[in-house]
């Protein structure tokens, strides 16, 4: 019976206070090293409550950031240090701050000028000059301003004691808070340490000294900056070298020039390829009589996405046609179609490659981030430099923004193919080609379709920006409306772009997409 009780204690003892020393207590002692009794008691208290339990660590309150350094709680160190600095800066300003110095200086200047003006006025009265009255008025205004500045300075000076009190109160509050937070922070650290014993336990001299050095570096400099009326410029602005930026950007300019001159053949052939694709699409969409194109689009929508989408498509097409956007919409869709086609044709193979090859993805991923976050206007410049203006460069600029989603989602989809299904196919003798086309791609298809959908929408959102470099279409209408502040025109063109996007999206998503919506 006795042994049963003893074995039952460790489970009960971990959260009940006053239990005999258990394995957990030994661990706390091993972790705390110094002042172990305090921590055993406090950690039990923290463990026993669901909400906040009051604990106070006098050492942490007294030493503040130094204590966190010694306990290797660096996250808390910055919190404590910043809070303390806030309080100390107030104190410093109250004690040594040249409060109202600026105002005093101004008052002195104004007074001097007022006296000067007064003297001039007196002279003018003597000479019975016509501007005497004006000078007199001006002198009075200046004197008033000087008095104002003086009053402000006095007010600022009077703030001194108040700042000292605020600083002191803040400091005490910060210290109290430090004492109250400390055990909680250390308890969390203890939980982490239990799982990962490589974390530092006990007190660290190096941490203590490191915290001290950091504080010595930060505190005086900050206090100085806030107490001195005119801090040296070195402290307020980063000593940047303007020439460096100029030199680097000049160097980049030269690089671009070099590429433009030497890569002309490559750029021209790319432009030519894109133009061929675009011309083909434009011939189909713009050249074909509108009733045929409309009928084909509606039938496509019906067959691929169901009757509801077909009805929507009819309405959207009617909007485009009746408001006279038909031709522009079709050339926009051709532009977008060419861009999306290239995105997909390059993006899916790249995505597959990245899914299979970890190194490839670690290289490609930052490039994708770059492509998506870099503002479009930035890469419009090199696009113009390399490819000139017009529709093909517009498509190329669109690619930069449109390609990442399809790559990312292809990778995601390919990685989501269950290893067990691939293994099963392999166990039955599937070769690599079979695995890719009959197992991986079909299973990754929902994700890839989402990627294609995203890519189309991204491409469409670039239409307006591409029109900046001469890609005509609906984007141009929006751009014009912006230039002439024509709200109505802008709204109509904007909706036309939206409807183009929605028709394309619904048709591409097909039945699956419309069912899930």
């Amino acid at each position: 019976m006795a042994t049963e009780v003893e074995t039952a204690i460790p489970t009960a003892g971990t959260n009940a206070e006053g239990a005999q020393p258990t394995n957990g207590d030994d661990l706390i002692a091993e972790f705390a090293v110094e002042n172990a009794d305090h921590y055993v008691r406090q950690f039990h208290k923290i463990g026993a409550t669901q909400s906040y339990a009051f604990t106070f660590n006098p050492w942490a309150a007294l030493l503040g950031p130094l204590w966190t350094g010694a306990r290797s709680l660096w996250g808390v160190f910055w919190l404590f240090a910043l809070a303390e600095m806030l309080a100390i800066v107030q104190l410093g300003r109250g004690l040594w701050g040249e409060l109202g110095a600026e105002q005093l200086e101004r008052a002195a200047k104004l007074t001097a000028r007022a006296e000067e003006r007064q003297a001039a006025a007196v002279q003018a009265i003597k000479d019975a000059a016509t501007n005497a009255e004006a000078l007199q008025k001006s002198a009075e205004t200046l004197a008033k301003a000087a008095a104002n500045a003086m009053a402000n300075a006095e007010v600022a000076l009077a703030q001194g004691p108040r700042l000292i009190v605020i600083g002191l109160v803040l400091l005490v509050l910060v210290k109290l808070a430090e004492g109250m937070i400390a055990d909680w922070a250390l308890e969390r650290r203890f939980s982490q340490w239990r799982a990962d014993r490589t974390l530092r336990a006990g007190l660290s001299h190096a941490g203590f000294i490191g915290a001290g050095i950091l504080m010595l570096a930060m505190y005086p400099m900050t206090i100085y900056r806030f107490t001195v009326a005119n801090p040296p410029e070195m402290l307020t602005t980063f000593p940047a070298d303007r020439d460096l930026r100029i030199a680097v950007s000049e160097w980049l300019d030269k690089g671009f020039d070099l590429i433009t001159v030497n890569g002309e053949a490559v750029f021209d052939s790319i432009t030519f390829g894109v133009r061929v694709l675009l011309d083909a699409l434009e011939t189909i969409l713009v050249g074909t009589p509108w009733p045929v194109v409309m009928a084909v689009i509606v039938v496509l929508a019906w067959r691929l996405a169901g009757p509801r989408v077909a009805v929507f498509t009819v309405a959207a097409l009617a909007y485009l046609a009746f408001l006279g956007f038909w031709e522009k919409s079709m050339s926009t869709v051709a532009l977008l179609g060419a861009a999306a086609f290239i995105c997909i044709a390059i993006g899916i193979p790249v995505g597959i490659w990245c899914a299979k090859n970890k190194t490839a993805f670690t290289i490609v991923r930052p490039i994708l981030d770059f492509m998506q976050t870099m503002p479009a206007f930035v890469y419009l410049i090199p696009v113009i430099a390399f490819f000139g203006t017009g529709k093909p460069p517009g498509i190329l600029a669109t690619l930069v923004f449109g390609m990442p989603p399809v790559i990312r989602l292809t990778v995601l989809g390919m990685r989501g193919v269950p290893a067990s299904v691939r293994e099963a196919a392999m166990a039955f003798g599937a070769n690599k080609r079979y695995l890719l086309f009959k197992v991986d791609l079909p299973l990754a298809m929902p994700s890839i379709m989402t990627g294609i959908n995203q890519t189309i929408l991204m491409c469409l959102s670039m239409v307006v920006i591409a029109s900046l470099i001469g890609a005509k279409g609906l984007g141009e209408d929006v751009l014009e409306a912006l230039q002439y502040a024509a709200e109505g025109q802008g709204m109509l063109a904007g909706f036309a772009i939206l409807f183009c996007a929605m028709i394309l999206d619904r048709i591409v998503q097909g039945r699956g997409g419309s069912a899930s919506n």
Binding site: S420, V421, E423, A427, F428, K438, L443, M445
Partner: protein
């Protein structure tokens, strides 16, 4: 290696042979293996020094024509790793693997592909059907890989589905079927190419007990008809004993014991196996020949006359022996297949045999 009692089956040439197969996972596998061989270091040290994990350690066994060979072990014991070496889904770090006498390790990519497609069928614990294909197309997968035409492979797939009694479900998708039915599809797929060898990786583990029992029965029935050489992985000793002609017990990557269910139960190789078999009912597993004593010893002790003693054959199980013993007061004589007396079972022998203490 133990040579098991073959449970009355004909002994042919081994279909699958594994010789000294090692699998060490990790970047420095070969270094680690060299250290294991030269210094005899343990699992923990291998992990510490080389950051490698030993999956299979020095596995040796052979599986004969038509035999069901069970590999039993707890999760993490390396049994699934072991079975994946037979069709080289995993490459061994060292050792030889022979199928019908030819070295699997020597095969090139295309040869290996053909071996997998024609000779080995595999069933998986998580079934692993292709969700975008119908049942028929899933079953036809091994045939499709071989390049069979659509009509032909559909015919074969339908026949295979008929074997597992799933006719009428061909055009459903996998997710429309229950777990038990899905695993029958998995079995039909493994049988579709009519392979000689079946690898079953815990096929019934994820199913509920009733369905599991039904599928075990169906599988044993099939197995008796089709005579496939089978390696059957399980973590359930009851299942191993029910299904297996022989059982290999694995622990920490090592095959601890190989033997018939009876040998495993009556002569466990170590405490680990003994612990395992402790809860197993011996009535249908232990036979007269393993608990009998010698007739001479009985006579020399001056036991009762044996004239009226009942006779049983040596392969009578304990369950039947109890029935015989209830009818008589004296001992029971055990005869071999030639009707020659070879031993004797007293009441005490029988009771000890049931108890399992005698071993």
């Amino acid at each position: 290696m133990q040579n098991g009692f073959m449970g009355g089956k004909t002994i042919d040439n081994p279909v699958i042979e594994l010789r000294n197969v090692w699998k060490v996972f990790g970047d420095r596998a070969s270094e680690a293996l060299a250290a294991i061989r030269s210094e005899g270091i343990g699992k923990a040290e291998v992990f510490e020094r080389f950051d490698c994990v030993v999956g299979v350690a020095d596995a040796n066994f052979e599986v004969r024509q038509g035999e069901i060979f069970c590999v039993m072990g707890l999760s993490g014991s390396g049994k699934s790793t072991l079975v994946r070496h037979i069709n080289r889904l995993l490459e061994p770090t060292a050792g030889e693997i022979l199928i019908n006498g030819t070295d699997v390790m020597a095969k090139g990519e295309e040869e290996l592909r053909l071996l997998r497609a024609n000779q080995i069928g595999m069933v998986f614990q998580n079934i692993a059907l292709l969700p975008h294909r119908t049942v028929r197309d899933n079953v036809a997968l091994p045939l499709e890989v071989q390049g069979m035409s659509k009509m032909e492979r559909w015919d074969v797939a339908e026949r295979s589905l008929a074997i597992v009694e799933l006719t009428g479900w061909e055009d459903k998708f996998a997710h429309e079927l229950s777990g038990g039915m899905q695993q029958r599809v998995g079995l039909a797929r493994a049988l579709a190419a009519d392979p000689d060898i079946l690898l079953m990786d815990e096929p019934f583990s994820a199913l509920d007990p009733l369905i599991r029992r039904q599928l075990q029965d169906q599988f044993m029935d099939l197995s008796a008809r089709l005579k496939k050489t089978t390696v059957f992985i399980t973590h359930d000793l009851d299942e191993a004993i029910r299904i297996g002609d022989r059982i290999a017990i694995m622990k920490d990557g090592v095959i601890v014991q190989i033997g018939t269910p009876e040998t495993i139960v009556t002569q466990p190789a170590d405490d680990y196996v003994a612990d395992f078999v402790a809860g197993i009912s011996r009535l249908k597993l232990v036979f007269a020949h393993s608990i009998m004593g010698s007739i001479d010893a009985y006579k020399s002790k001056g036991g009762n006359s044996l004239d009226t003693a009942p006779r049983v054959t040596e392969d009578t199980d304990l369950d039947n022996l109890i029935d015989v013993a209830v009818e008589t007061d004296g001992p029971i004589i055990v005869t071999d297949s030639g009707n020659v007396d070879i031993g004797i079972i007293t009441k005490a022998d029988l009771l000890h045999g049931i108890q399992g203490g005698k071993g």
